[in-house]
């Protein structure tokens, strides 16, 4: 959304609108306790009094092309066209902590995101972009997040940008990443240590940076239902916060650094109620469990990605309608950031045309429909309030269950979350296959494929980026191997002790170490194999 875009203060026929509506006269106790006006705890009705009148949600399109250079071009294009936030998605090898020239990566480097293997990659991707003037969010849930942060900080240093000016986020969410294979077999202890290092470091040195984004979206995509999605995400956030508090950090400095990125599914009212219930639970947990004093610690920020799993390959244009309803749920639910899965997602990587439809969907909802004009427009609806209460009850019951297992870390280790996901995923798919849950074009109102005029699978899978693989090999040839060895040896010693590893990551990447080498060194210090997939060893990458 462009900075000048605003929600309107009146209806199409000229009726002036308040920023929000509530009970007439003195509000009853129950209202104050359960709902509160928008911008007032427990924030059921939204985080801000004026909501989208003051500022529309942040519009972003995920971006990650085959090389850092190509990604840079696209990012600068998006900035020129009014995008205020960068949403960067690294490729799968980078997500897994594998170098671009790793034997298993050679076939996927740069195909589903941008490769960020070295400090030079990060620098090239951000060339000519004012890091102090834009928020940069990285969709990186797993172990690579702290290394990419170190790359980002090194780039800021090169350009003389103070860290306090950096805004953005990493996902940094190992408990979730364990379940989407994005952890590449990293033990939870190591994942939690790196996650907490990063939270601590950001809280102390990068006050405007979100240290952690709990990825509820992928929990939902893995089969969980709406209350499970939120309950598990909040329990995960609780585990991270407790670990960081244990290191002596103040909850009121930590809490504002946490974001939730949620899915928005097709059941409109349940989704709206879900967001409202999530804010209420968060607010109470922060105050009652963590003893937060400040309102901004209790106000949950929610970013939304509409559900890729709700989209289907047959008659793909139907997915535009699904995305619209889901985006509507996010807006009515009071989200702070929104992006849409593109309508071609079930059959292809997003085309430019599909990405444009996604952006336009948001703009039509914001500027034409009036749904953003009033904060929490469904507040007070008997139906929506009842759904909100019921979802909250179910979420709290699940959070209690997780607490009963000793918290989210033991629950994950014991396989509780994995079992829940597998069961829910299978039940969901089966109910669609059996036709109990209706999906138009999939189990009812079918069109034979030959007559499916809306089907447009191009089917050209992208090729791995030979240029990037060559660039990384070149990088290895031109760096000072002794300097790399020295920083990695030092890192190995630190990793075996309690120190925060972010500064040591930074020294290593500045000396020329690659992502895979940094994480491999940490793995070795933890008694693990250097390479998470067991295909290479340390000597082969260092050329010794």
């Amino acid at each position: 959304m462009a900075d000048t875009d605003r929600a309107s203060g009146s209806t199409w026929s000229g009726i002036a609108l308040q920023a929000s509506y509530g009970p007439h006269g003195e509000p009853p106790d129950a209202y104050v306790r359960q709902l509160g006006d928008p911008g007032v705890a427990p924030f059921t009705r939204g985080g801000h009094p004026e909501m989208y009148r003051k500022r529309l949600w942040i519009t972003r399109q995920l971006c990650g092309l085959d090389t850092p250079e190509a990604t840079n071009d696209r990012l600068r294009y998006l900035i020129r066209n009014g995008q205020t936030g960068l949403a960067i998605v690294p490729d799968t090898p980078t997500q897994l902590g594998l170098d671009s020239d790793h034997p298993l990566a050679e076939r996927s480097t740069g195909t589903q995101g941008v490769p960020l293997c070295t400090l030079e990659d990060m620098d090239r991707m951000l060339a000519g972009i004012d890091l102090a003037g834009v928020t940069a969010s990285f969709s990186v849930p797993g172990v690579s997040a702290p290394v990419l942060l170190a790359q980002l900080l090194a780039v800021a240093d090169r350009r003389g940008i103070p860290w306090t000016a950096l805004r953005g986020s990493f996902q940094n969410d190992p408990l979730q990443a364990t379940h989407t294979s994005y952890d590449a077999g990293t033990p939870i202890e190591l994942g939690m240590r790196l996650c907490t290092d990063m939270m601590e470091y950001c809280t102390r040195h990068l006050p405007s940076f979100h240290s952690t984004t709990v990825n509820a979206y992928d929990l939902r995509e893995s089969g969980l239902n709406a209350p499970q999605e939120i309950a598990v995400a909040i329990a995960i956030a609780k585990a991270y916060l407790e670990a960081a508090v244990k290191r002596g950090l103040d909850i009121d400095r930590l809490a504002p650094g946490i974001l939730l990125i949620c899915g928005a599914h097709i059941d409109l009212f349940e989704e709206v109620a879900k967001f409202r219930a999530a804010r209420r639970i968060w607010s109470r947990m922060m105050r009652e469990h963590f003893g937060a004093q400040q309102d901004r610690s209790c106000r949950l920020s929610i970013a939304v990605h509409t559900a890729g799993s709700s989209l289907y390959a047959p008659q793909p244009a139907n997915n535009i309608v699904r995305g619209t309803v889901e985006a509507l749920a996010a807006i009515l639910g009071g989200c702070q950031g929104l992006d849409l899965s593109t309508f071609d997602e079930p059959v292809d990587l997003p085309s430019e045309q599909a990405a444009m439809v996604a952006l336009r969907t948001q703009q039509i909802l914001a500027l034409e429909t009036g749904v953003a004009n009033v904060a929490d427009p469904l507040g007070g609806s008997w139906f929506v309030e009842s759904l909100t209460d019921e979802l909250e009850r179910r979420m709290l019951a699940i959070i209690d269950e997780i607490d009963g297992l000793g918290g989210m870390v033991p629950a994950v280790k014991a396989g509780w979350l994995r079992r829940l996901m597998d069961e829910m995923q299978y039940a969901l798919q089966s109910s669609i296959e059996r036709g109990e849950r209706k999906v138009v074009g999939v189990n009812c109102h079918l069109v034979p494929p030959a007559q499916d005029r809306l089907l447009s699978f191009r089917g050209d899978h992208p090729q791995a980026s030979a240029a990037q693989i060559a660039a990384v090999r070149e990088h290895r040839r031109h760096r000072d191997p002794l300097a790399v060895r020295a920083t990695l040896d030092a890192l190995k010693i630190r990793a075996a002790g309690p120190d925060n590893l972010i500064p040591h990551f930074k020294l290593a990447v500045e000396a020329g170490a690659t992502l895979g080498e940094v994480l491999g060194t940490v793995r070795v210090a933890y008694g693990l194999r250097y390479d998470p997939v067991g295909a290479i060893d340390a000597r082969s990458t260092l050329g010794v």
């Binding site: 939870i188 202890e189 000793g406 033991p410 280790k413 014991a414 396989g415 933890y526 067991g534």
Partner: protein
């Protein structure tokens, strides 16, 4: 001395032999031409049991690595439950052993339990023999882990290892009532989870023997726990081989023989009287209360064997 790896042709032949064993076990032909005769002294057979999620496959993976470092050919039989309803199974144990894929010195075979309820699959016993005949030593047998009386490893394995973790209270209670007296080693996995200390104490107190070995392992301890498991297994094997191995194997072979003989004796006659409708008729009488179950069984026996039991 066996070479530490086997050729692809040998591996293919071995795999097909195990398939033949499986098919015949399934067809009910117990007098198996495919089942090998193997002097059991050749290979040690280690049974790994415990509840799902306690870390059996991870332990097996680590042990494979350890034995491979000593240039042993390692055989693995990993059993997962078959559905009693439709007979299908998802066998997922290879995932944890992925790093050994392509190592020609490791032979991993997944099996569905196919109706057995003692934690094994019908073909396991003979498959261990086929592996031994092909020079695999040790042979690691990973049980289903769902049942709480997985006594199959007693019949089939020289050394029996029970893997537990703190979060499996119910299983631990059941194991304490039986399995724990039959295993040689308990590995307390995920020993960094809350409750590990009390689990170890609990096991020590409830074991009827002083010599029950307990080793703690966890991701935090990394290789250290595994090294300890491996050393303990070596020590236990040396002690067993010196003293009771022959006796233990005789006991196991006797039990296996009795089970197979029982099945052979009963199957033919039972199929015959069932085909004739006798079983059904007597069952109806039991249902309706005109015969007691033991009376009906005696009548069935007479029909099967022509004499009274």
């Amino acid at each position: 001395m066996t070479a530490p790896i086997s050729s692809t042709a040998e591996r293919v032949a071995l795999a097909r032999r195990i398939s033949a064993i499986e098919r015949q076990a399934c067809d009910g032909g117990d007098a198996l031409p495919a089942a090998p005769r193997v002097a059991a002294t050749r290979s040690r057979v280690l049974g790994i049991t415990g509840p799902p999620g306690a870390g059996k496959s991870t332990l097996v993976d680590a042990l494979i690595g350890r034995y491979r470092a000593r240039a042993c050919r390692v055989g693995v039989l990993a059993v997962d439950p078959s559905s009693p309803v439709h007979g299908g199974a998802v066998l997922g144990d290879r995932i944890r052993m992925h790093r050994h894929a392509g190592d020609a010195g490791v032979f991993i075979r997944s099996m569905g339990s196919r109706g057995r309820t003692d934690g094994l699959a019908p073909a396991v016993r003979d498959a261990t023999r086929a592996l031994a005949a092909a020079g695999y030593d040790p042979i690691l047998v990973e049980t289903v882990g769902v049942g709480q009386t997985e006594l199959g490893i007693v019949e089939c394995c020289d050394l029996r290892v029970l893997v537990l973790a703190p979060a499996w209270g119910d299983y631990v209670q059941a194991a304490k009532a039986g399995l724990i007296d039959l295993v040689d080693l308990v590995v307390v996995n995920k020993a960094d989870l809350p409750g590990a200390d009390s689990l170890v104490n609990d096991l020590r107190q409830s074991a009827r023997r002083d010599e029950l070995e307990i080793v703690r392992a966890s991701a935090e301890r990394g290789e250290q726990g595994i090294v300890e498991v491996g050393l303990t297994l070596d020590r236990l094997w040396a002690a067993l081989a010196a003293e009771r191995l022959a006796a233990r194997r005789l006991e196991a072979a006797a039990a296996e023989l009795a089970n197979r003989a029982l099945a052979l004796v009963a199957r033919g006659p039972l199929e015959r009287v069932t085909a004739a409708g006798t079983t059904q008729r007597l069952a109806a009488a039991v249902r309706d209360g005109t015969l007691s179950a033991s009376e009906a069984a005696a009548l069935l026996y007479r029909d099967m064997f022509g004499s009274s039991p």
